[in-house]
Amino acid sequence: MLTRFERARVIGARALQISMGAPPIVEVPGRTPLEIATNELNAGVLPMTIRRRLPNGKHQDIPLKWLIKNQPN
């Protein structure tokens, strides 16, 4: 599950890339970079990894794909 902060961050980062000319990874509907980024995220194709840290300093890298899988809707 993505937290709402992670979701916002991922979409924001990807939308920025698209707005600067990055090609969309898959053919997705959407007019604005934000829409495209959101659709890409929901399609589960973004090659991104989130690093989650614990208070004890340990961390774990989790591919976005995993997190998007069990998203409650």
Partner: protein
């Protein structure tokens, strides 16, 4: 992935400090309520969906017990049943938990575990409905409970501390306008409202109106005379209290005329008074004649005699140190004692005929000393919540709990402020941002201190994204093995 909850938000001022602790705090109280409602809705919905189900299949309308009332407090500090502070643990209720394999089975399908207390309450609620609900409906109820619990959890990255600070702070501003400093509980004065709240948060060693509530044991609680006996043993009686008048005789002696009625009332013998005075070991003579005690010190120095006289007047003949007055109160059909002044250690250790487990004092530092830090934490929560509650301010307990956790997390009580939480931050920049900037920076420089830039304030100063909300997310553009 559930266990990988990220929680590294750190210090800002009092408020944001809480964030670190808060990020990993799961929230029981409200969830329980919320999910209960859910359960009820789901149950009645599914019940009415089935045509042959009895019309009144929805859960009984009977009053539901308070969420945690049944399980009691966690610490030796007695928690009166009224405020549900969400402190209860599942321990007590586990024994009575009905056997519901279906519930366990459904919950086991999910990757996050519900708190034991919630599970046992859910089981207790569902057990009587076994007949009325079919398996599918039962599963629906459990699923609903699970998902509303998950929804109520706080997300990593949330500024829980800031929210807590605001949630307590704003109602605080309302209090100033509406409160009077004192509210008379019978003859006793107890500080309430904002002054009391400040006192709690400042972690003052001595509250302005220390007071205890002492419950009596089974033998004594229904008998007024026995209650009075105990009260008179606790209440401090000084020589001054039983003296009718103090005479100034010649040069070097003075007399104390004892009020016989008073003595009888307090069960004190005049010879005992004289003996106690002798025990002070003041060089000189003490003699009793009728109702009069004559003290003849050896010295003739006026100032010294005056000092001796004061010492004698303040001499404690009976009772416990610090307990100025005891009032007997009737609550239901039992008597209990309320005191002006507090002495928890002595009361618990030495007073007979009381219910030790229920003794309560509003002196938090005393609780910390006698019963330990966990008890103090409960006391902070209870006291602060009661103040807010009394004012009719509806503050969620969990905010108060967070503050109490922050104050006690080091093992000793820290105040929220200069000499505690804000002043002991590990980050130089955060401390400098709080107060006496130059001094903190100079000291830090001369000690070669280092700032890890882990908190909110530091990063604001440096001009970086802060570790809160979206700023806490660490994102990599990376093709991992398992990922895309």
């Amino acid at each position: 992935m559930t266990k990988r909850q990220t929680a590294h938000a750190e210090a800002d001022d009092a408020g944001a400090d809480v964030a670190a602790a808060g990020a990993k705090t799961e929230k029981p109280a409200k969830t329980v309520v919320a999910s209960k409602r859910r359960v009820k809705e789901a149950a009645s919905a599914s019940a009415s969906a089935k045509p042959n189900a009895p019309k009144n299949a929805s859960p009984s309308r009977a009053k539901k017990p308070k969420a945690a009332g049944a399980t009691g407090g966690e610490a030796p500090v007695p928690l009166e049943p009224t405020p549900d502070l969400g402190l209860a643990q599942g321990r007590a209720s586990k024994a009575r938990q009905p056997d519901m394999p279906l519930v366990d089975e459904v919950l086991a399908r999910h990757d996050r575990r519900l708190p034991e207390m919630l599970v046992s309450q859910l089981k207790a609620k569902l057990a009587p409905l076994k007949e009325k609900l079919n398996e599918e409906q039962m599963v629906t109820v459990v699923e609903e409970t699970y998902s509303s619990y998950i929804k109520a959890l706080i997300e990593p990255g949330e500024a829980a501390g800031t929210v807590a600070a605001q949630s307590v702070g704003e109602p605080g501003t309302q209090m100033t306008l509406r409160t009077f400093h004192y509210a008379g509980v019978r003859e006793l004065n107890v500080t309430l409202g904002l002054p009391r709240l400040i006192e709690i948060v400042d972690a003052r060693r001595l509250p302005s109106t220390p007071t205890m509530t002492i419950y009596l044991d089974d033998e004594h609680k229904r008998d007024l005379t026995k209650a009075k006996d105990i009260a008179s043993n606790i209440e401090t009686v000084t020589v001054e209290n039983v003296a009718k008048s103090i005479g100034y005789e010649m040069l070097n002696n003075f007399t104390i005329e004892v009020d016989a009625e008073m003595c009888e009332d307090k069960l004190i013998d005049i010879n005992y008074i004289a003996k106690s005075i002798e025990k002070l070991k003041i060089p000189g003579k003490v003699s009793v004649e009728g109702n009069t005690i004559t003290v003849e010190p050896e010295t003739t120095d006026r100032a010294k005699i005056k000092r001796i006289r004061e010492r004698i007047m303040d001499l404690r003949l009976k009772g416990l140190k610090g307990i100025k007055r005891v009032v007997i109160e009737k609550k239901g059909d039992e008597y209990l004692l309320r005191t002006d002044g507090s002495n928890l250690a002595q009361v618990i250790e030495n007073v007979k005929g009381i219910d030790r487990r229920k003794v309560y004092t509003n002196n938090i530092s005393e609780i910390a000393e006698v019963l330990g830090i966990e008890a103090a934490r409960s006391a902070i929560i209870r006291e602060a919540f009661e103040v807010l509650d009394q004012q009719g301010l509806d503050v969620d307990v969990r905010h108060v709990i967070l503050i109490a956790d922050l104050m006690t997390s080091t093992g000793k009580i820290r105040q929220i402020g200069r000499h505690g939480v804000s002043g002991e931050k590990s980050s130089v920049l955060a401390r400098a941002a709080f107060e006496v900037t130059v001094k903190h920076l100079l000291d830090a420089a001369s000690h070669g201190e280092e700032d890890r830039l882990e908190g909110v304030t530091e990063n604001v100063i440096v001009g970086q994204p802060i570790p809160l909300g979206t700023g806490i997310v660490e994102l990599f553009m990376r093709f991992s093995k398992e990922g895309t």
